[in-house]
Amino acid sequence: MNNLNEIRAKYTEQFQQKSKRARIVVGLGTCGIAAGGDKVMEAIKQEVAARNLDIDIDFTSCIGMCYREPIVEVALPGMASVIYGDIFPDKVSQLIESHVVNKQPVTEWAAMQIPEGRTEYDGIVTMDKSAYYEKQVRTVTSRLGRTNPESIEDYIATGGYEAIEKALSMDRLAVIDEVKKSGLRGRGGAGFSTGMKWTFVYNAQGDKKYAVCNADEGDPGAFMDRSVLEGDPHGVIEGMMIGGYAIGADEGYIYCRAEYPLAIRRLNLAIAKAEKLGLLGENILGSGFNFRIRIKAGAGAFVCGEETALLNSIEGQRGMPRVRPPFPANKGLWQKPTTLNNVETYANVPFILRKGADWYAGMGTEKSKGSKVFCLTGKINNTGLAEVPMGITLREVIFNIAGGIQDGKQFKAVQSGGPSGGCLPAEKLDLPIDYESLGAVGAIMGSGGLVVMDENTCMVDVARFFLNFTQNESCGKCIPCREGTKRMLEILTRICDGEGKVEDMDTLERLANVIKTASLCGLGQTCPNPILTTLRYFRHEYEAHIIDKRCPAGVCNALLVYKIIAENCTGCGACRRVCPVGAISGENKQPHTLDTAACIKCGGCVSKCKFDAIIRG
């Protein structure tokens, strides 16, 4: 087969036919399944069978609104697709009765509608005007929630494998030039120009080269790579093929963390289907280009996300970083020239080739082009996945897209970039999101996890949380990181336990700077960032812990004092009965008192009190 014209025409026709029939589609990404999506699917199948309906049932991946999972789409011929949220099995019957049988959408359950040229319903917001999507763009995430990720037919019908066809007709350097011109920078953290990296590997001497995809996604609080792998596996494969062709590789590896079994399964399936069509293997599309992709599962080590540690892990060894130089571009996998790129980086490439570098460079800021996928998590109303143009502000993302803070609480901080990133306070909310702006204030873009914290989060405790993480994950090869993280963790624990000393803040800062400059790999070089940023923006919280022996957010147990507010107490006795050590006393219907010396701070009374009469602080 020398081109895809024939099968593309066939699959496109099939794809259009699908939308001419009534269909129900369930979102079955990891998040959808965790929320009960597979049970909903079962219920739908039963309901459809019981009513003997002539309707197609399909599944898709996560459209991005994790906070509305399980998500179900219903589309009738000629009418807009309606996306429903929070559809649990007990709602299925009514949903089908109303929307499918009576052709009346259940407006109050609908999250939005997607017209795509069909007739709109009244009273349901369209996707492009919905609060969650209005400020988003959908490039890398365009197929998520819209196509069946296990269907290569869907992929090809939506423009898939057009980019590799185009690339194969171009000179290899021209492909690299196009990527360079687009301004695409690595989405795995450091933001290095992808085109430049490919040039280095192109120029490296060697008969054998590799293209490796980093799907280790180690940052806690980040799941965009998982979503892309689960939702558009062919997109990543096509991106790798283009990269492989450009640098002269004939073999690719995807290093995927073992905690993502669904992503691994869909990737395996996608590779098998692409091989069957001759899109992977020998002499692809008659061009003489050979390319194969293998998957390697990780085994639970954060440091394996670091590029040289990852290469060691693929080789079957402990995932310890190598000393650089030599860089992987010259001596990478099995000492051969290797390009290593992130999932989202590769997933961008087919779009750049298809729509052109200028189109891509038209989005974003001067130095950060295109769009970036973020994971919005923490104490916000709308948790989920959002793809936004570079340069949008943190405020827009947190307050418009993510819908602000849960339960009407106060925003305190947003953590960007995982354990290597920083915590930013409210004053920085108007910062545009791009590599340089975030770097300048001590955070990093990182892989794209944004964890939002409210007034009930203690920033010292958060710093300790991250240090606990990095100390656990430090591979132990270099001393600044191995010993330094331990010492910093000790100090932070001491502060949280109420035994901090005033000089601890300076010691932390000094240690942090030494570790930053002296560590071997990015893990050590960036792990002090959470401490440095919390010291910089939330110093008063450290001081409260150290000097006043108080945890303002009421998190650090050792520093908490429980008190009963007499005015609020009705004397119901609920707290007295639940207290395991008898520290609360009082007559019925009279305000109670709490003996702080006897109190073991278990918190039982606070959760029992219905009148907000017990406070800790």
Partner: protein, 164 residues
């Protein structure tokens, strides 16, 4: 009986060894397959005891030290047996700020084990893990192969009941 160099006597063990050898065969003499083989070996045996490590080392042609190094480096490999149902509570950032501590506390109260331990009847083992990628549904945990999200401490007993 297969000559395996260990003290296995029962046919059950002999069968296990035969199955392990089939896993090793795929990468015999190829050190690069070490992590893949250990994944499958652990799936088969439930953990990576010394006899498994010895056999894998000999089969792939790497030293036992290297195998032991890899087993202890990666969090997913275990030197001790696990319970029938492995509970992995996510202790990633998103889950942490939304109440990992409460979830662990509820499980501890219900089962009487701390992270890193196994119940006496081998029904459950408990551990905390880094992000499982279900941050949108934080706090989350995995039991066996099922992901449970949006956890409230009160639901814990009911969820655990499903696993016998």
């Amino acid at each position: 009986m297969v000559a395996c160099g260990c003290k296995c006597e029962t046919t059950e063990q002999a069968q296990l060894i035969e199955q392990l050898d089939r896993i090793i065969d795929e990468y015999r003499g190829q050190p690069r397959g070490l992590i893949q083989v250990l994944h499958k070996a652990q799936e088969l045996v439930g953990y990576c005891p010394k006899w498994v490590q010895v056999r894998v080392a000999e089969g792939l042609g790497v030293s036992l030290q290297e195998v032991y190094g890899v087993v202890t480096f990666y969090a997913l490999f275990s030197l001790i047996p696990k319970g029938r149902h492995k509970i992995s509570v996510c202790a990633g950032t998103a889950c942490y700020v939304k109440g990992t501590k409460m979830v662990v506390k509820a499980i501890r109260q219900h089962l009487g084990i701390k992270p890193g331990q196994t119940t006496e009847d081998s029904r459950f083992s408990l551990e905390t893990v880094r992000c499982i990628g279900a941050c949108g549904l934080a706090p989350a945990m995995i039991i066996g192969k099922d992901v449970h999200g949006r956890l409230e401490p009160e639901q814990i007993p009911e969820i655990l009941e499903q696993y016998q």
